[in-house]
Subunit: 536 residues, 2 copies
């Protein structure tokens, strides 16, 4: 959910507008975007949204903010980045947006900001960092990066340009912190090619590779090794096909003869000539890989001797889902290769020594670690401190915090609204989280509805109360709890105060408290109880 | 949820009776135990339940199975194992159980089985493997183990006894597979002591260590290092205190002067003399560590400069919860040490080379990898195959599968009932999972109740329908969805067929289908919809 605002008195630019996939406690939420009220309120100053690369945690909020901005503000990024954004925006049916495609080393003037695009290596092609010259001095924003000394497309990180910002002096550096806990240097993407070569050569049956649809370089390497071994490449899954088409059209992905095979064709091929590239590396319930593992995919049935390569790391929270898929695939007789047992994945983010090098190149006066969890920001701050940046010049920022830089000094200056907005189907979940709290309760203990008909005049029960429950564990297994509850309600009504009888909500409250106590003590569960009193 | 049955025509013994902690999809479930119907139905043959060590995944189902068995069958284990089991059974208020405490190398006759207890090293003290002599030959069951060459209590794994079973011939080996994916040898528990020494010496403020309450050796090492540095040990949390008391009483844990401090005393101590040992290493919501990280603990407030050591690995599924706690602790100014950045944890399970050694020592005819996920069983089977055990003599078993061994051969012989039983408060969740399915739906989309009063005779609406919802995202943010839904119901009733009007359930079905369609298309959500029709 990355998003940074750079602002002066007159001008404002936004760098990235990402989404976050929901955590398991965000029940029913599809995704989470940042609260960008602050930006909307200052829209007349907003010169552009600059996007560093095409990953969803940097681009996923664009359809929402562009809808609310009405499309007047340009989105600026490199070719592949804009290609992927356009595809996403198309799904949202937004029209008349302004895009500006740039190349590395291009400089774009946005009010008082001059933004230079600096090529970086990362797990998606065409990523850039930013050199932003401002009236107060230079700012460098790395975007997401690693130092890949042997990148798949040969495009090196632009050391020279970053050095130039070091040389001419940089006021503030914002640098990727995702791997700030990891020692050393992140291995090159090329290492994965070696793992593919080894595993492809040993495979007897079909090969199925699951990876991120946006990892064009990973897909390229799978294609390259397949071609070297005379195998045929099959793409399967909507997002893989759509991303591959965009990347191929823009020249970021090369297929032999410019074509791939469709999954419908695999049954006419020999098993050992098939390499299927697909998604589902995070164990997503509806993904191709999950369906294959459950034997529910229409075309792909895993047979004994097939090889499945999960070319990704499980994002925290997904480990159990991924583990289950591996178990299921093994049960179906597949040989499953995953990051724990082979080098079929490398990270796209810089480890400690790479972060140190970036700090060495830029030598900033002020430093903000960005992109990562709080503990990773802390570790990145420690690295900067070891590089002799004074602690008072290092700012570990939380969402919404403002750093004000004047010619004299930099200081945290309070916060602006910047929370999470939950997107849930076509609606928003409310901000006070009442709905999520209710869902959590329902998920744990279910609900119990008590339907009570009383006479309009005297609060007399007209029939036995009706009890309906869902998700409450006693609804089937112990009918005695339900019938006892009914008796308790009847007794409650027999002993009701005259005052209460006149007041439906008082009756409801009485039934609720009595029943709550009984159910809690008998079952140790706290279902949501709703007494409904109908006066007849 | 480990449990193995060994059975002949006349006799049966059960090895371990564990529980499993629920996965995130098992909404509202407290824990999961194996379905032991098969054992109950053969109770007259059951000679004993033999327990290898005191971890809950080996002991947690005992209160349930003993309640159902009525307590006549003895539970056999070593001193600490039985001590921990007794404590757990006390909570369940079961009386008149029979325990038999054994020492390593003891042999117990159980019908035609002679069970010898063989000491192993593991992440809990007093663990054993089993050498079981049967009329058909010897069986070795390793329990959970690792080869710790420098165990904290000096008690080595009993290489000689395991070798003896190799020497005299073993028909079947069952061996721990948890780390069968990991190369090499698991580091000794002593490595953790070195990490404690390093981190304790550098700590300026208070030290808080979170680990598993059952890891007595880990607790011992924290105590030892604290004492070496002249610090005072505080135990905090019910399970840590209860386990420490049991272990100390039985001589498995040594405190200086046989005492520890209470958490209420910490405010009278200097920060740098305090070492607090507590639980919460898995991010459990109600644990001490979680409450400390949220600043909600009554006595312990983390201050800048305090050191928090999480001496455990996050079990798959808990990574995100643990990560959040670390972030919160950093935000409060603590220095947090965890397994990713320091050697403050080692595994209790044997890695590949240790598993190879066990296979070398025992040289079994048949082999069953046990304890671990299916993929780990597969990897362990591969190791056994590399050790020249023929593939047809290796059996990767799934829950409930039966291996029949005769003097001539071993063969899988179908399955017996052996599923999961969900324990939920004081009840069981039904086996067909309807309740869990309902809970999942409620968790995602909530519910909508429509209350409709109609006249008894003619199906006339007597008032505007009432709509009540919980957990449905449109309940607050878009009232228009609700009021439109009401209109749709009114229209539906105006156009009802004469046939339907006479039939309440047909009216319900009609309202349900109409509303479902409307809500689905407008909101992309599928709440559980319940029309309630009251005839007046």
């Amino acid at each position: 959910m990355n998003m940074t605002v750079f602002e002066t008195e007159e001008d404002m630019i936004v760098v990235d507008a990402g989404l976050m996939f929901p955590e398991e406690t965000m029940l029913g939420v599809d995704y989470v975007i940042p609260d960008y009220t602050y930006i909307l309120e200052r829209r007349e100053k907003l010169r552009a949204i600059v996007v560093t690369h095409g990953h969803e945690d940097h681009t996923g909020a664009l359809p929402f903010i562009m809808r609310d901005l009405g499309g007047a503000v340009p989105i600026i990024g490199t070719g592949l980045t804009i290609g992927l954004i356009k595809e996403k925006i198309r799904e949202f049916n937004l029209k008349h947006l302004t895009y500006k495609i740039v190349k590395p080393r291009d400089i774009v003037s946005l009010g008082c900001f001059n933004v230079e695009f600096i090529h970086v290596t990362h797990s998606i092609a065409d990523g850039v960092g930013l050199g932003i010259s401002t009236p107060l001095g230079n700012v460098v924003h790395t975007g997401d990066f690693k130092l890949d000394f042997t990148p798949v497309d040969g495009e090196l990180l632009d050391y020279s340009k970053f050095s130039e910002y070091g040389e001419k002096g940089t006021l503030l550096l914002l640098s990727d912190s995702t791997n700030a806990e990891k020692a050393g240097i992140t291995p090159s993407e090329k290492e994965v090619k070696r793992a593919f070569e080894y595993n492809f050569a040993r495979a007897k049956g079909r090969i199925i590779i699951a990876t991120f649809a946006s990892n064009i370089h990973r897909i390229q390497q799978a294609i390259d090794v397949a071609v070297e071994l005379g195998k045929k490449v099959v793409l399967c899954g909507r997002s893989v096909i759509s991303n591959a088409r965009i990347a191929a059209d823009l020249g970021y992905l090369r297929f032999p003869g410019n074509k791939w095979y469709k999954v419908e064709q695999i049954n006419s091929m020999e098993p050992d000539e098939v390499v299927i590239i697909t998604t589902g590396s995070q164990g997503e319930p509806m993904s191709v890989l999950t369906r294959i593992s459950m034997n529910e995919h229409k075309h792909i049935k895993v047979a004994s001797g097939d090889t499945v390569i999960i070319s990704a790391r499980a994002i925290p929270g997904n480990e159990r889902a991924v583990g289950k898929i591996i178990n299921h695939l093994f049960k179906r007789g597949a040989n499953v290769i995953y990051d724990k047992i082979s080098d079929v994945h490398v990270s796209g983010h810089a480890s400690k020594d790479e972060l140190r090098l970036m700090l060495n190149l830029i030598k900033p006066k002020y430093f903000i670690p960005v992109h990562g969890e709080y503990r990773q920001l802390v570790y990145h701050a420690k690295l900067a401190s070891d590089q002799n940046i004074p602690n008072e010049n290092i700012f570990v920022m939380q969402d919404g915090e403002v750093l004000e830089i004047t010619p004299e000094c930099a200081l945290k200056q309070g916060t602006v609204p910047a929370g999470r907005v939950y997107i849930d189907g076509k609606g928003l979940v409310d901000r006070d989280n009442v709905i999520l709290r209710d869902r959590k309760r329902l998920a744990q203990d279910g609900f119990v509805i008590v339907l009570i008909s009383v006479s309009k005049d005297g609060g007399q029960l007209l029939s036995e109360p009706e009890i309906i429950s869902k998700g409450f564990s006693f609804e089937n297994s112990r009918r005695d709890v339900i019938s006892e509850a009914k008796k308790i309600i009847i007794t409650t009504f027999e002993n009701l105060d005259r005052d209460i009888i006149k007041d439906t909500s008082a009756m409801q409250a009485k039934v609720l408290s009595t029943l709550k106590k009984y159910i809690r003590s008998t079952t140790q569960k706290s279902p949501l109880i709703m007494p409904i009193i109908v006066e007849v």
